[in-house]
Amino acid sequence: MRALLKTAYAQDIRLFRYGGTGRLVCGLLFYAALLVIAPRGFLTAWGACLYALAFGIILLRRDSQDEGGSAAFWYGLLGVALLSAPLLADDYAVSQLSFVLTYAIAGIGLVLLSGQAGQISLGHAAFMAAGAYTEAILHNAGAGLLVSLPAACLVAAALGVLVGLPALRMRGIYLALATYAFAFIVEEILARWETVTGGNQGLTMDWPRLVLPGVSYGFESEREFYYLVLGVFAAALLAALNLMRSATGRAFQAVRDSEIAAKSMGVNVAAVKTTAFTISAGLTGIAGALYGHLLFTITPEGFTIFLSINLLLMIVVGGMGSLHGAVFGAIFLVVLPQLIASFRDLLPPALASQSGIESGIFGLIIILFVLFEPDGIYGRWVKIRAYFDLFPLYRKGSFRRQRRTMASERDR
């Protein structure tokens, strides 16, 4: 028994406990290369399906007998599906998918900050804005993506350091208010500093360019841009996963659970909080830059408190205990307004014509989730999966509900 447990510790740090990361990455890269090289129209929907099948069987299913099944297999299929989406779906669906991935990047930043480090923020719209405006200004000045995207990240991260400062002294509701105040100031600046930000008119931007020494490539359509978003999303996800499985991620968790114990383990609490805000803001800034390109026109109205609340809603609904939550939440955030819109026709006209109905439903959903499913959609998904895995044995108590705390209210 012990020998069995002891071999497990090298597995814990793998991305997939039962292996397959290397094959997953190779397979996806190969497929991506195929998409680039193959002549247009060569890879159709059927080709994608065939590839997915072959990829799955040859590369991944080999170790499906392993205990726990092969998580890599399912993520591999998902990866093929995401890479194939522009072949299968129409422009509108592809752009919606880009929105999902963009929100998910910001969501990853928020999960790190709120779920992992326990700090609340109602100021993330400001980081989105910082990213979007930096990108717009640099892009319109002729800079390529390799300059503007890192710059958007850095500007937002610098603001993150600034917002992290109150976090050193405040927590809970007070921190929420402080970050909100900050976002409000940023919004005002965007509206007033007309020479740079275009005031209430905002700025417009078209698809970005990728400028490398010698080559220059301009994105031209929704579909091409989608691949950029997908790539950035994958990189952000990987970086976040790496952080969470190493000392920095654990230090976040320590600060969330008990500041006093964190200090007594040598964690520099102030530095960790600042780091958490910086990373989260930087990621959100990157999301903001992509968001700007998707919107074409950015105005201060696009980055109000409602965006902050939507971002927070995203991880509450998705589940902030895991990065999966960011993705589930992002899907929710994009799909829900459309669902509401299509259900509107079914409502009695007096109700349907009310303007606040969308925010009302959003609010209601937050409340329901907080009350009944604090672990979010992802938490529910885990439970459903456990139900089938354990089938006749599953009992209601299998998941004891855990107190979910934002940063500990105890100090000393």
């Binding site: 012990r2 968790q253 008990s258 007594s264 040598g266 855990q402």
Partner: protein, 254 residues
């Protein structure tokens, strides 16, 4: 030179005097126990050493270095680890993760190599896990390895907290009432572990304890405190025979 030297340490909370001109020194390699009735100031002393409280006056030297000049998060880096009377674990994390957090000060890799999870980061993670696994083995915690603290019974948490402190490979270990809340068998285990920690891991131990059986079983020297003042210092037998100590515990006026 003693490992830890406490000189004229004075602590007040408002009008309450928690420590009054306390002098004592802990030698390298010994198990030094502080006893005293409730409110004697034992935990306060620990919290000053951890730099959670700023004392009113006096000084603490660790290997000749003034501890009071350092912030609390720098203390573990000097080789001082501690546990808390009321258990301060990371509740949302698993036992293993708590152990790994105990090794926080041992991290070598930088932020960037963690972000990319370079081979150096992977090697370091594996080394940390190896060490954590060793400690869980030592304290018989393997069975709880992947459980969250929130789901563990009190007695196990107490031991996890000891493990987390050990994970940092301390030179000086501060244990605040390690046996409180443990049953008789667990307390006996604790006595063995305390000996082993000193003998096998080479740590000096500063202990606060109420259970006199445990105190007698492990201590080299005992200091009795009452209302922030030192009453008696000596071997366990000497201190428990001391009249002033008996009076303090029985609550009679001097």
């Amino acid at each position: 030179m003693s490992l830890l030297e406490i000189e004229k340490l004075e602590m007040r909370f408002g009008g309450l005097i928690a420590l009054k001109e306390l002098d004592c020194s802990v030698e390298e390699g010994e198990i030094f126990t502080i006893i005293g009735p409730n409110g004697a100031g034992k935990s306060t002393l620990f919290n000053i050493i951890s730099r959670f409280y700023d004392p009113f006056g006096g000084a603490i030297f660790y290997r000749g270095e003034n501890l009071l000049r350092r912030p609390s998060h720098a203390i573990p880096r000097l080789g001082i680890a501690r546990t808390f009377q009321n258990i301060e674990l990371f509740e949302g994390a698993t036992v293993l993760e708590n152990m790994l957090l105990g090794r926080h000060i041992r991290r070598q890799t930088g932020f960037l190599s963690e972000l990319l999870f370079l081979p150096s980061a992977r090697r370091e993670e594996e080394a940390h896990r190896h060490k954590a696994e060793e400690i869980m083995d030592f304290l018989k915690l393997e069975a709880y390895r992947d459980q969250r603290i929130a789901n563990l019974p009190y007695g196990v948490r107490k031991i996890v907290e000891l493990g987390r402190a050990l994970a940092s490979e301390p030179k000086l270990l501060l244990l605040d009432e390690p046996s409180s809340g443990l049953n008789a068998e667990e307390t006996r285990d604790m006595a063995f572990w305390i000996h082993d920690i000193r003998d096998l891991l080479g740590a000096t131990i500063l202990l606060v304890e109420h259970d006199m059986t445990l105190v007698r079983a492990v201590s080299d020297r005992v200091l009795a405190l009452n209302q922030g003042r030192a009453l008696a210092l000596g071997s366990p037998a000497e201190v428990s025979a001391d009249k002033a100590v008996a009076r303090a515990y029985l609550g009679e006026d001097a």
